[in-house]
Symmetry: C2
Amino acid sequence: MELLEARQKFIEAWGKLGSEWGINRTMAQVHALLLISPDALTTEEIMEQLSISRGNANMTLRDLIGWGLIEKQHRPGERKEYFFADKDVWNIARQVAKERRKRELEPVIKILDELSKVKGDEKDPSYRTFNKSITDINKLAKNVDKTFETMLKADESWFWGSILKVFK
Amino acid sequence: MELLEARQKFIEAWGKLGSEWGINRTMAQVHALLLISPDALTTEEIMEQLSISRGNANMTLRDLIGWGLIEKQHRPGERKEYFFADKDVWNIARQVAKERRKRELEPVIKILDELSKVKGDEKDPSYRTFNKSITDINKLAKNVDKTFETMLKADESWFWGSILKVFK
DNA sequence: AATTTCTTTCACAAAATTTTGAAAGTTCGA
DNA sequence: TCGAACTTTCAAAATTTTGTGAAAGAAATT
């Protein structure tokens, strides 16, 4: 396989994976492109390589910055903005975990906490089932949350070292 | 908060969470409804409680069976089918992990393995960056895959016991 | 202050996904 | 074999999500 074909395949695969996990396909593709680009790229270059519009490129780049996955770079004597992706996959994983935790897991935990407090008739099967499911899900969610938190604090070698020891 | 309101809130929250993680909103809602229902429900009852069409209910229920999250039940003397959800959240988590691993993670790992094999000029920064990113992502993906695998084999208390020991 | 260069915005268009509902299919009992 | 009860299918409609492009905005240069 040629490098150019391989790059294209990676961009497609990354985009597909992203969309399956609730991340906009284009955003994942722009991220993929920057991941395999040695140098920072301009909006123009990204638009051209992925055949997307200026508006789309701009918004997507801004979102990626919001996710902490890429950064703007400036070059002395140039007005254009360049975009560059952190290439450390451990950082990427942590950053995604951090954002999704904040945006999606935490709001759900907040609701589950509220729902856990709902009182009802212990003799009512409807209440008992509701309460048991909510309580159990809440516990699991909090364990996941805790795991994320630890992952965010941990450094890579420590994290995988510990995990792999458990799973040996 | 009243039980009925709380049930409604849970169904909405579960649906929203699902859609944020790439799972059809209605599917998550049907699952939520069955999770808090003490008894198995008919298609009719599900249609009514969630205000969805027969076609939608039927397809969604079939999908949920495909995910291994609910099962059909039959009652002696009745033609109707009843649907019942496993209430064990650990089983649910494992089942979802199992399916997503098979459907999404494995295909990506297959592609990454191929892409890892692509040869190129070690002096070409474009090749070097591509190769490093692919290799690193592949390693992470395989670690995640391994973690899933262990999770699928493990029983709950062992799993969390081990994790929490690591994270103490 | 006018021009050039680049970035951002946003109403609208296009595409992708989800839902509907009616017809076709199936199963079983009379 | 007929028909009632129930399930499945799928083309079309509705909805949601994503993308476009032209215009407006901003910043540096002349």
